[in-house]
Amino acid sequence: MATVIVVTSGKGGVGKTTTSASFAAGLAQRGYRTVVIDFDVGLRNLDLIMGCERRVVYDFVNIINGEANLNQALIRDKRVENLHILPASQTRDKEALTREGVERVLNELRQNFEYIVCDSPAGIERGALMALYFADEALVVTNPEVSSVRDSDRILGILASRSRRAEQGENPVKEHLVLARYAPERADRGDMLSVEDVLEILGIPLLGVIPESPAVLQSSNAGVPVILEEDSDAGAAYSDLVDRFLGKNLPHRFITAQKKGFLKRLFGGG
């Protein structure tokens, strides 16, 4: 039985696509047949982050419209076995994502995959609603910043009222918090909302904390999910996150500041 997971946030630029790419790659690395779908119709970007932008022939909307079949549109990742990407369409017709069409594609994917990761667009418009509608679980990506936390709360409200599970009175969508771009030393200083602050406000379980890291930009420059940069802090954080999602009980790393020595504190920059 396949599990559908939406990666969502409300606010843009908080790390949804970065998280989708690394989460999907991590699940596939651990042997699960995984597909990641870009729901951002008109603003396709997952392909760039995953480094397969030149291999896109058909897209999500082509399949919904019956212009191609799934095998033609799915892109097999060249680095990670078991990982497939379904790119978004560049059409500007936002109506292209119909609920029936999305459901049909998801049902077909369920036959062949264990995890279906839906990379939601920002906002609470059609694309975002479609991405979360069929979800069994949700990764809510939040930055420790007021507008992001507020938007995450709005998205949690929508998950609780407008998902298929909510409408049909089934068990609610299982929610997980992913706190991204976290800078523990700034939180310690009182300049940034802390992990505890965000948890207290949103009230959902913490799946992982991703530290603010130059590795994220470097890996997106190269078109490699950051989880594959195993030596980087962000990569290690995503790796832990995936293990936790799969049931491992791992302590959270990267939530306390590295202690700086006296000299480093005196001379080393922020």
Partner: protein, 103 residues
């Protein structure tokens, strides 16, 4: 960042505390009409109400709005049905009706 400032940082103002306080207020306010404030029976209630109304009047599904408000200690369930303008027979109730009720 200057040496001095660098060394003594930690005594800077705590803007995160302000952020948390502001968020707690706005989030609590916004949840009133959305998350947790909206009971999960609302979609089903809306569907059944619509079916009942449509037995008598041909209304469009988009013309029924159900909204639950919480103010102070009580809740107001607001039901808003816009009846169609054009009716073959003359009917006094052809204007839109609002029926607020307590729950």
């Amino acid at each position: 960042m200057g040496l001095f400032e660098n060394f003594f940082r930690g005594s800077s103002n705590k803007s995160a505390a302000l952020a948390k306080e502001r968020l707690q207020i706005i989030v609590a306010h916004e949840r009133g009409s959305g998350r947790r404030g909206s009971p999960d029976y609302l979609p089903a209630l809306k569907k059944e109400l619509l079916e009942v109304v449509r037995k008598y009047v041909p209304v469009d599904p988009s013309q029924i709005k159900v909204h639950l408000d919480r103010e102070g200690g009580y809740e107001v369930l607001e039901l808003n049905i816009t009846l169609p303008d054009e009716e073959p027979r003359s009917r006094r109730s052809s204007e839109s009706s609002q029926k607020p009720g307590q729950s």
